[in-house]
């Protein structure tokens, strides 16, 4: 197992290198100039050129890449053009929000999605199953911005139970009551993802329920609970855990709509805004880190398979 993990970590190096080359090339080849974006519409070409020079953007691309990747290897991802501070600090500022959103949304998704999925599978084609199927289709179909704004209208504007938007840092303030700012965003994110997990858990369990070993379990006279949870649910978990792994990464960096609606300073918004601002170092840094996290989560998901299914052995 240890050897397998080491090999996987080693295989990440060429993948990350490739990702760095692709990201760097992609963002430098799309039209747009960070100096012009920063100075605005009315800046003279001379002024834009002066700023380009001061930012080192006038150097050949391979020189810029070598400088950047050399810094990355030393743990320095460069300076954000827009925020005028180290990229790692910018990402760290945003990581708190994204991590908390991802963790709490995941908890909601698991707590809501998995039990309802199990119940739907156990009570397949019953009224309850139809109700859950209808509800999950509804929540999977509605746009997140619509759900977010309506939740905001109800719970923040009308009932005034929760704040509309923003998220003051808990790390900086030490105030855990700031978690109330994340209630509506997490519900907004959890709703469509829970719906998908419900559908996936249900269908996986129904697939497994038809397997011979399940028939054997029933024939042995095991209780319904034992057959459902130990034989059907556990064996259907592989696909559910895979989906949860992908969902977690998507929640970390792919929640730009929800972050925009609730004005959350998260990584998703940082990526999109940095792209629009052509803040090259920030985009490169975020994407490299997200790629690394994606590979790490993938590895953890793969390792979890060995726990869920004893037939799987990594050597």
């Amino acid at each position: 197992m240890i050897a397998y993990i080491c090999r996987r970590f080693l295989s990440m190096i060429p993948s990350l290198f490739l990702a760095s080359v692709i990201v760097f090339s992609f963002i430098h080849f799309i039209p747009g100039d960070p100096a012009q974006v920063m100075l605005g519409d009315q800046a003279t070409p001379e002024r834009v050129q002066q700023l380009r020079e001061s930012m080192g953007l006038d150097r050949p691309l391979y020189v810029q890449y070598a400088k950047w990747i050399g810094g990355v290897l030393r743990g320095d991802m460069g300076q954000s053009i827009f925020f005028h501070k180290p990229v790692l600090d910018v990402i760290a500022d945003r990581a708190e929000t994204s991590l908390l959103i991802a963790v709490f949304s995941m908890i909601l998704i698991i707590v809501v999605g998995v039990p309802i999925g199990i119940l739907s599978a156990v009570r397949c084609n019953s009224r309850l199953d139809q109700l859950f199927s209808g509800a999950s289709m509804f929540f999977a179909s509605i746009p997140t911005f619509w759900l977010g704004l309506n939740l905001m209208l109800l719970f923040a504007v009308t009932l005034k139970w929760l704040p509309t938007s923003g998220f003051p840092s808990i790390v900086e303030s030490g105030d855990w009551s700031n978690l109330r700012y994340l209630v509506l965003p997490c519900i907004t994110l959890a709703a469509p993802n829970s719906a998908l997990i419900i559908r996936l858990t249900r269908s996986s369990m129904l697939d497994v329920a038809r397997a011979d070993y399940v028939k054997t379990a029933w024939a042995k006279g095991l209780s319904e609970g034992s057959v459902t949870m130990r034989h059907i649910f556990r064996n259907s978990l592989i696909s559910v855990v895979s989906a949860l792994g992908f969902t977690f990464v998507a929640l970390l960096a792919g929640t730009v709509v929800t972050e925009t609606v609730f004005s959350l300073p998260g990584v998703g918004r940082l990526v999109v805004e940095s792209l629009l601002r052509r803040d090259y170092p920030t985009i490169q840094g975020v994407i490299l880190i997200v790629a690394f996290v994606y590979m790490l989560v993938n590895l953890l998901v793969d390792l979890s398979f060995a726990i869920l299914d004893p037939r799987i052995r990594y050597s």
Partner: protein
Amino acid sequence: MKGRKLLVFLAACVCLVLVGGAATAAPAKGGVLRMAVIDEPPTLDQHVVTSDLTTMIAQHIFEGLYTFNAKYAPVPLLVQSDEVKDGGKVVVLHLRDGVKFHNGKVMDAEDVLASLNRWGKFGARGPVLFGNLEKVEATGKLDITMTFKAPFAPWKNLLAFLNGGPVIYPKDVVATAEKKPIEQYIGTGPYKFAERNPGRYIKLVRFDDYASRTEPADGYAGKREALFDEIRFIPVPDVGTRVNGVKAGDYDYAEQILGDLFDSLKADDAVVTTVNQGATQGLMFFNSKTGPLKENFKLRRALQAAMNMEAVLRTAVGPKELWKASGSFMPDSTTWYSKSGVDAFSNGSAEKAKALAKEAGYAGEKITLMASTSYKFHHDSTMVLVKQLKDAGFNIDYQIYDWATLISKRADPAQWDIFFTHHGFVPDPVLYTFMSESYPGWWTTETKRALAKEFSATMDDAARKLVWDKIQALAYEEVPVIKTGDHFTYDIYSPKLDGLSASSLIWPKFWGVGFKATK
């Protein structure tokens, strides 16, 4: 006697009511203003950036030598008085004494000289003034002398316009920044910079040692009193969230609300609406360097003849209160308002356009029109304009980009024929981008060049206005740019705020503003 006593008693009562009323009407000191803004600025360095968001925030921290009163006339701010000599060639500025920077240092001529020089060299609008300057020097502890190559009329307007303008920084801050944006935000304004928390807020706090002018407040001029303990500018990119935030009490002020919501918000007691009178204009620039529109003024007039600006503004902006289909480049709230050439502004006649295009020798050549989706009204305006142009028989290649791509592409004249942008309010026409020969579009005809020179050299205001009339008429004849009209953004705020007027001049300002005093 009895009647006289009664009269005195009544008069005393009236006075008490008036005094009492005035006392309760004044905004209270203290509290935190939370303003929801559309984005966060890249820097607060006023010299180099022309974004309205930057200026709106920075005007509370930094001050210039002059500012504008409610009639958009330049009046002294950090300057005490000035002298104009040699028929306008020499200007001596006498600075106010005892004005402190936020770091405690007292401002002097060295700070002003360093700031002006940096602005002239690296500033967004500095070269317009410095291109006409022979020299600028500190001629005393509080005196600055500017010597122009020839009389240069717009000097005071250029010094007063804060957006991309010459705010005054301490000399050592200027020295450390040079061509890079400054990172130490130290000014002389009523609020001082406290903190930037990226993605969350920019925090300003009251500057207790602020040296305010003593004249009554008038536009951006006169007395400035910081009443809030703190102002937070919070980036809230979604307009629905900005509106909900003010309604829920999470924000006190929110900027740039959608036109579609104007009527419902005006009728909503939970918020107050305020319209910004500094008009924004949609502008379509024509390529004067290459392509089918180069020097083909008749073809440009044909394109203009096809356009109906009311339809454009109705679609792009919304309610009638928020736009004016006005052909005058300068708004009617200014002395520069002109009707010269405006007959050609919004004909909306496909027939006239076709006839003119035929006379111009147009044979269906492709005309590339670039617009951006980054600004909703750019996209909405051009959607209507492209339809009107196609209906008039023009072969329009409509290309949509994000803003960064568009401004990159427009630098290359081979890639476009027309691009759409917007222009914020400017107090002097010399600041219009189409007056600059280096701005994409590159309007550089001999007639324009001669009129621009005359415009800058004419010192008398009335005579300058006549020259501007000629320039506007020429703009309708040579059509370097087409204006789509004036539109006005509007903001909303909590009824708890006091001191804000029904409209703002250009950028909302928060000195003299506070929360309503509780009785």
